[in-house]
Amino acid sequence: MEEISLKAQELFNIGGFGFTNSLALTLVASLVLICFSFVVSRRVRLVPGNLQSAVEMGMEYFLDLMESTLGSMAKAEKYFPLIATIFIFILTSNLLGILPGVGSLMFENHGGEVPFFRSPAADLNFTLAFAVISVLITNIIGMASVGIFKHLGKFFNFKGPIDFFIGILELISEAAKIISLSFRLFGNVFAGEVLLTIIFFLAPYFIPLPFMLLEIFVGLIQAFIFSMITLVSIALHTAEHEH
């Protein structure tokens, strides 16, 4: 049975930078998304064809969901690129990680064999990068929307001892959000990979089908959860004064 490695394995070394197998699949996912967006944007017509209608349906559903959380359509359209990119990129990388060839195509490396492709979110670097970007941009958006001092005033609140304590708790909760976002996505996808490796080792015919369906479902839900948590934090940080 293939060995299960918590770290993404290095394929080759460029300068001091290790090019890992999850990075390879991330590049493939980016390529797929770029080509798809080229194809869709090239044939935009007033009376849409099938592909354009499907994309527009998805966009409308997502915009409605964002509007119900954020309150206004203007805000929803403003923050749509960030949230939709997080959702689409994580979804694509999770779905690509289930395709045949991921985890089974081998590559020879310093005398041993490593898989050439690995699910991108099964690498803690990928999920940590997304979590840091999400929390940083959420705070920057909060600062841009209510003002720097008012936003920082939520965390460093000197009006009284209890308020000060609550502010410090808020600060710790932002840091904890980075850890929880990254580990939630990493744990779900890595556990799914380990599960599929073991099931394919034990019973390769027909039995893996329900597990692969579970993996598809989990990939979809985790992408949705990541973008929704980012959306809810943006909603909280840009909330105008309570009445």
Partner: protein, 76 residues
């Protein structure tokens, strides 16, 4: 007991004990979501979004337990 068997017990214990409370809390959240949708079907989509979010938070705790178990087994 030698180190290898302690490691095995620690792996099993981490995941076995660590998923008890997340399982209970996910069932609780699901039950209140179903009850509130039954009581007020118009708010179904809002309740559903909130329920999915809360279930993901609860499941994340089980995932932390799983990550600790994996680290114990494969890294240290």
């Amino acid at each position: 007991m030698d180190a290898e068997s302690i490691r095995l017990w620690a792996t099993v214990g981490a995941i076995a004990i660590g998923t008890i409370f997340p399982a209970i809390s996910i069932g609780w959240i699901g039950s209140s979501a179903v009850k509130s949708i039954g009581r007020n079907p118009e708010a179904a989509s809002k309740v559903q979004t909130m329920a999915i979010l809360a279930i993901a938070f609860a499941e994340a705790i089980a995932i932390y337990a799983l990550v600790v178990a994996l680290i114990v087994k494969f890294v240290a």
